[in-house]
Amino acid sequence: MYIEVDNANTFIATGGKPFDPSLPTVVLLHGSGTDHRGWALQARWFAFHGYSVFAPDFPAHSLSGGEALTSIESMGAWLIRALDEAKVTKVHLIGHSQGFLVALEAASLLGDRLKSVMALATASAIPVNPALVEMAQTNPTAAAEMMLQWGFGNQSQYGASAVPGMQPIGIGARIMANNPLATDLSACNAYTQGAQRAQKLASTGCPSCVILAEKDRMTPKKEGLKLAQDLNTQAQVVKEMGHMLPMEAPKESLYFMKKFIQSVEK
């Protein structure tokens, strides 16, 4: 569906079902330079199993208009305005990579609308090599390629695909080529209050869950384990997979996502 946020036409994927704000809403937040399609399969499952799905393309990403947001804090605040616009009342925030940093910010603003947070292949801070940020500014295609090479694990590099016949690296390359990667990476790099936010969230007793990828080279597992500690939760590790976990291992990701959300909703 399309909604107006900050006077910009904004695309929200709903998993193939009309959006119903009265249902518990699974909010799926994409990572740097990517879009809602990274959640294509998981979004469909939630939408067809009693939840509403709210998977936005952040401003200036893929199907959404507007100007790219330059900080994680502003993305968190934007998400609240988008959720308000759609009148969402019960929020489960699920973020991949940068998407989870945004979730941490949004969580601090949601009050009792927040039901849970879930992190996939991420950490509480995502420092980005300045050379990569610069490359994303001057040669976004090369930067996207570098991230795809680092981001996808070994099996994907050898052409594995959870969906028969597809090439996830090829799909990712197309999506990232048109999105404001440099702005996203700078925002990640500048964000420093993740650990603090995570600890504070843990102190509220908000249910949380961390899923990591064993071969993650962008937000290494050991950083993800620290995040789990800050959130006061256990981390689960998906073997062999790289940073692009929701795309590389959609079935395993969904397994953990539904297990967690169902346990919170019980």
């Binding site: 994927a13 590099q157 052409g159 695909s161 597809m166 390359a173 197309r174």
Partner: protein, 435 residues
């Protein structure tokens, strides 16, 4: 990089889409000779049916062996995804079928494979899909032929059998300027000689029956979704950008973006038309693909040597190969050589041509191309026999034209064989002179 893989083309051809960790460590890609796949649970079955999970349901739709070939070809061509089909013709059909509906229109190169021409001119017309044929390298003609209801521009990267090279960047520019995708049949080029997506194509089709297989043992096709075309912005593609009722209103573009077309073909064509590649054929075609680059080098060098040899032969009237006096776009698109197809005419016209073909012993007179063995054919009386005189001319076919798919045999043996044929042709000419 191919835009889908960081491996080199030769490595992709050997490894992409399959790693031996699964399947008992089988080094070769296993043949999953099965119609169907046991579901873990009813919930899993329902998730598979509703595209909430990737995986296999039924081999008309997907099969693990076929998927390896699909993923390998997608990686090789630098696409977002691929669908293998029972034949090259079905790959073309599902491409057109997925982009066009009744009342729509296609602009096609006039110089194309005979069955494709028939599909466009007659078969699709029965479903009210019209086609205008143009000289594809005349961009004014291409642009002028595009109508409000045009859904795609189609060409072969090397046209069959006239062997004109399509100027892909120029054609893509013309099509894209009007918000229309370029669909390219790259059969004669193979992924080794040219990757059309790099040059602006949006969809690539191969008859994998030909060089990709190389052994001449299996018929098959593939559609590769280039993933670059913005179907929504074009505004012409309700099949991809509007809800598809049979899948609970699935919007392929919104949900799958760069793989929208591949997913539409999977969900609709493979289910409803069912022109599926068999797992055994996929296995055979994978064996071919593994050595494509090595074979193509020999195909091309043999073809180039045969061109020079035929040009010097007394019994030969004319020789055509795109590398002869190559124009600038041919040089740009085919730096490794423009394929292993050549055509020529013998002195003495049709009868001498027939004598040539009938005298050959090593080369095979048959209706195929791209086999590792040298193949010859007289298109005017076979593949293109259903075309009218005028259509033959516009397809670049003269009555004396002999089409050769140069194989990878030892060069001197091909030449010795052609000498037999040319001697027989010369005899016809001598007899004609006597009469």
């Amino acid at each position: 990089m191919s835009k889908s893989s960081f491996l080199g083309a030769d490595t992709i051809a050997l490894h992409s889409g399959y790693q031996p960790e699964s399947d008992h460590g089988s080094r070769a890609v296993p043949i999953y000779q099965t119609t169907s796949y046991v579901f873990d649970s009813v919930d899993e079955a329902s998730a598979l049916f509703n595209v909430e999970q990737g995986g296999h349901i039924y081999s008309r739709i997907t099969n693990p062996t076929v998927a390896v070939l699909e993923q390998r070809l997608a990686a090789l061509e630098g696409g977002a995804g691929a669908i293998c089909t029972a034949s090259g013709m079905s790959a073309l059909f599902v491409s057109f079928f997925s982009l066009c509906s009744a009342g729509d229109h296609i602009v096609s190169a006039s110089q194309i494979y005979g069955s494709t021409a028939t599909l466009l001119k007659h078969s699709l017309k029965r479903f009210n899909i019209d086609c205008t044929f143009v000289d594809i390298n005349d961009q004014k003609a291409v642009s002028g032929a595009i109508q409000d209801n045009t859904k795609l521009v189609f060409c072969e990267s090397i046209g069959n059998p006239g062997l004109d090279v399509s100027n892909l960047p120029a054609i893509a520019e013309t099509a894209h300027a009007k918000g229309i995708p370029l669909v390219v049949d790259a059969t004669f080029a193979t992924p080794f000689l040219n990757n059309p997506i790099e040059h602006g194509a949006d969809v690539v089709v191969h008859s994998v029956t030909k060089w990709i297989g190389g052994h001449g043992a299996a018929v098959g096709g593939v559609v590769i979704d280039g993933g670059n075309f913005d179907w929504l912005k074009s505004g012409r593609f309700p099949t991809l950008t509007e809800p598809y009722e049979p899948f609970h209103g699935m919007n392929f573009w919104e949900e799958f973006g760069p793989a929208a077309l591949a997913m539409r073909i999977r969900c609709e064509s493979m289910r409803d038309i069912g022109a599926a590649m068999t797992p055994h054929n996929a296995f055979l075609l994978l064996q071919g693909l593994e050595t494509l680059s090595l074979r193509m080098q020999q195909h091309v060098s043999n073809a180039q040597a045969m061109v020079t040899w035929l040009q010097k032969h007394d019994a030969v009237k004319w020789v055509n190969h795109p590398d002869i006096d190559a124009n600038s776009h041919t040089k740009l698109l085919f730096p490794k050589g423009a394929g292993s197809m050549l055509t020529f005419g013998v002195k003495g016209g049709r009868d001498a041509g027939a004598a040539f073909i009938d005298a050959l012993q090593l080369s095979s007179n048959l209706a195929n191309v791209g086999d590792s063995r040298t193949l010859v054919l007289h298109p005017g009386s076979t593949t293109h026999s259903r075309l009218s005189e005028a259509d033959l001319v516009s397809a670049g076919i003269s009555a004396d034209l002999i089409r050769v798919s140069v194989g990878i045999e030892t060069l001197k043996d091909i030449q010795a064989d052609f000498n037999l044929g040319l001697r027989a042709a010369a005899k016809v000419v001598a007899n004609q002179a006597e009469v």
